[in-house]
């Protein structure tokens, strides 16, 4: 999808004046933006800038203090996700979304095999044919470049990078419209990080997925994101196309952020 077509299409996600307070402490304040299908949005900022709070609010895990999050759901059309009933919201999260956690232990069931982890979203959608789910799982493990003969190994027997690949497969197998990623490459060494990023970029482009990726790593943002939101003290201080923001930062904080990236 070209950038022009994308802008012409209906928004997938619309966030209006979203604020979240923890008592008198601000988590994020007055955030508004729109996202279109197939777009990859990066949220960058330093620790404590409200990235994770914003992601939790967007992904339905933390109700905002004020403001709205509207999403183009498959079953209910464009609707405020916190206006849906709890079962409808949970079903929408299962069917339309994926969530890749920073720590694979948060996103995987460590007691069951990697294959069952990948197949679980299908069972949650009501699939009841073992053979079909098994072959879909094998196809996805292959797609994320894992050794398919290790399908029945427990997640703890995989390396960190492999666990993250299992998590990616688990969150894409059911064909979501939008995937949230919270520091998906944090905690991995640079070579593994590079290969995982490469893989995710390919998958996102192939599937035409919309992705919201939270990161403090400018290199990840540069590689993955079409558009960036720069956050500081709970507020969005700058938005724009990734290359534009990183190559010609306007806000003083963004300039500081970009200039802080270590060069080798």
């Amino acid at each position: 999808m070209s950038a022009v077509e994308r802008l012409a299409s209906e928004p997938l996600l619309r966030v209006t004046d979203l604020s979240r307070w923890y008592g008198s402490i601000v988590g994020c304040r007055d955030v508004s933006f729109e996202m279109h299908p197939g777009e990859v949005l990066g949220i960058v900022g330093e620790s404590g800038s409200g990235k994770t709070t914003l992601l939790k609010c967007l992904s339905g895990h933390l109700e905002p203090t004020s403001g709205q999050v509207e999403f183009d759901t498959r079953r209910h059309g464009m609707s405020d996700i916190y206006g849906l009933s709890e079962p409808d919201r949970r079903r929408m999260q299962r069917e339309d979304w994926g969530f890749v956690h920073q720590n694979p232990r948060d996103g995987l069931r460590m007691r069951v095999s990697g294959g069952a982890n990948v197949a679980e979203p299908l069972m949650n959608l009501g699939r009841r044919h073992y053979g079909e789910m098994r072959s879909a799982t094998i196809a996805w493990l292959d797609r994320v470049e894992l050794d398919t003969s290790r399908i029945d190994d427990k997640p703890r027997n995989f390396s960190g990078g492999m666990q993250q690949r299992i998590q990616v497969a688990r969150n894409l197998i059911h064909g979501p419209k939008l995937v949230f990623m919270d520091e998906p490459t944090g905690g991995l060494d640079v070579s593994v990080q590079a290969r995982l990023l490469d893989l995710m970029r390919e998958l996102v482009r192939d599937l035409g997925l919309a992705v919201i990726i939270v990161t403090h790593d400018m290199a990840v943002a540069r590689l993955m994101a079409d558009r960036l939101l720069v956050m500081r003290r709970g507020e969005v201080v700058e938005t724009g196309l990734t290359d534009q923001v990183l190559d010609d930062p306007q806000h003083a904080y963004t300039q500081l952020l970009v200039s802080s990236v270590l060069q080798i």
């Binding site: 949970r90 294959g115 009841r128 073992y130």
Partner: protein, 306 residues
């Protein structure tokens, strides 16, 4: 369950009848009614301390104590047998505190308390089968949070239970789980049938009797009223199956009952016998003969007279 005939020293005898105080029994009866009204739903109740440890049947004992009356006939089995330690002691307990007649005979009993089996002989309307349940939550092994499992029940999100079956097939090539095999009740609530063998699962479907389940430590009661649909979970390409044996019962020759393997010596000799001791004895009395009929195991030491 019905009013007592006039008996000597009635006031003393029926003060705190059947061990529990009257308020507790009322509370448990309310939970039972709620459980019967919502088949398969785990109704919470204020489980009391009982004179046996958790895991020895405290849930089942409390259920029995709440529903038993002087005219009831009580049977208690453990793994199908009437003559095991646990069954004998619980049966004696109710013979003493509830002043009821006890029996081994499945057909004669009005209340049957059981651990890990459903009797072979079909149950009839008017009978109550009370199960002892260690873990009422079938999803607990996969989801540790009670808040989350309650939401899953409320919203009928049961995909997770299939993950355990999926794991079974991946590891063993078939659904190898044999006991506590999860069931759907009236296509609404997912339920653990307590650790009965899956051989007994089909008996729960459209059963004439009332099936009550009590978990003392976990403080939950659930129930299957008569003539309720109970379906064991499975995959389209791996349908539900029950255990089968190549042998028949060594004592009574039964082909269709659940068999226990009994090791006889160190030389590898063994025999398969009915786990339901009353069923086996009744068949032998009717003249059925198995390949090892007359073995000393067929004549256990008689229980002390009560």
């Amino acid at each position: 369950m019905s009013a007592a005939e006039s008996r000597p020293n009635e006031a003393e005898r029926y003060y705190n009848y059947a061990y529990l105080d009257e308020q507790t029994k009322r509370m448990i009866r309310r939970a039972i009614l709620k459980a019967l009204a919502i088949p398969g739903y785990q109704a919470p109740f204020g489980s009391r301390e009982m004179p046996v440890p958790y895991g020895w049947g405290t849930g089942g004992i409390q259920l029995t104590a709440a529903i038993i009356g002087p005219d009831d006939v009580y049977k208690c089995i453990d793994q199908g047998a009437d003559d095991t330690t646990n069954a004998v002691s619980i049966r004696k307990f109710f013979a003493r505190v509830a002043d009821v007649a006890t029996t081994d005979n499945t057909a004669e009993a009005t209340i049957i308390q059981t651990r890990h089996r459903i009797p072979e002989q079909p149950l009839k309307a008017g009978q109550v089968l009370v199960f002892q349940v260690p873990q009422p939550e079938p999803l607990r092994g996969l989801e540790a949070r009670e808040t989350e499992t309650r939401a899953m029940h409320a919203y009928e999100e049961y995909g997770l239970q299939y993950v355990s079956l999926y794991e079974n097939i991946s590891a063993f090539g078939r659904i190898a789980a044999t006991a506590g095999y999860p069931v759907m009740v009236e296509e609404r609530y997912l339920m653990s049938p307590s650790p009965i063998p899956k051989f007994d699962n089909p008996k729960m479907d459209d059963n004439e009797a009332i099936l009550l389940f009590g978990a003392g430590r976990e403080k939950r009661i659930y129930a299957i009223p008569p003539h309720t649909r109970v379906r064991s979970l499975d995959f389209e390409d791996y349908p539900f199956e029950v255990q089968t044996w190549e042998e028949n019962c060594a004592l009574c020759g039964a082909e269709d009952s659940y068999l226990d393997e009994v090791v006889l010596d160190d030389a590898g000799n063994r025999m398969f016998v009915c786990s339901d001791s009353h069923h086996c004895g009744q068949r032998r009395a009717e003249g059925h003969v198995g390949p090892m009929a007359g073995h000393q195991l067929a004549n256990p030491v008689a229980e002390d007279g009560q």
